[in-house]
Symmetry: C2
Subunit: 111 residues, 2 copies
DNA sequence: GCAATAGTTAAGTGAATGCTTCAGTGTTGA
DNA sequence: TCAACACTGAAGCATTCACTTAACTATTGC
């Protein structure tokens, strides 16, 4: 379900916004409340909540409300899925280059 | 320059679109012309060219025109930069969890 | 030369995005 | 009990996005 293209879509879309990446960055250093996430950002709390909803819908962030404060944390499995997608494509390309290099070296030898 | 936040922004934004990810996927299996990239996509050539421009602006793809055909290929360095950003955050979070685990194990021992 | 090929560019359109403000709701501390 | 706090939700608005069509340019093969 993590490799389902729709989920991948939501994840990359979530990471596309600088404010949301800043929120993920903050959360990578430990859990935070909505207000704490909002603090460094030059926008209304309401806007931050909307970004948070995008992050949660993408699966990148999970949150829980205790009393009046919602505490957010990163979902590393989702991050790993995005990472994995990129890594597979990059490796595929690099392996191709290697094979090409081998081939060229071989045909050089033959001359 | 690859870790410059503006460039990172362009890269994640480029990867956010499923058509563009499909193009990257295709290119990970080897170079392709614009028409070849367009072939599996249910949209006009013009739309594909626009997506390609986004990919090139982000640094993820490089292309060169010979005669009337433009050949595109992946720029693995850029992919690596995006991968790296995610990886750093995920590791930061996971290290935090490990330290927390150690701490809890230690305080358990003390009881 | 001329038609087919491969791509490019510009203009327009409708939907999605990233905000804002404002008016709530539930929680907590004094 | 009541004011401050920490969100939450809806409505509105400007901008950006992902397309489309249509007109165009530059190659290539016959």
């Amino acid at each position: 379900m993590l490799h389902d293209p729709a989920q991948l879509d939501l994840m990359f879309q979530a990471l596309a916004d600088p404010a949301r990446r800043q929120m993920v960055d903050r959360l990578s250093r430990g859990p935070a409340s909505v207000s704490q996430l909002a603090e460094p950002l030059a926008m209304s709390l309401s806007a931050v909540v909307q970004h948070l909803n995008v992050l949660e819908a993408s699966g990148l962030v999970r949150s829980e409300k205790l009393g009046r404060v919602r505490t957010c944390q990163i979902e590393p499995k989702a991050l790993r899925a995005a990472e994995h997608w990129i890594n597979e494509r990059r490796l595929s390309w690099e392996r191709r280059l290697d094979r090409l290099g081998d081939f060229l070296a071989q045909t050089d030898d033959e001359n």
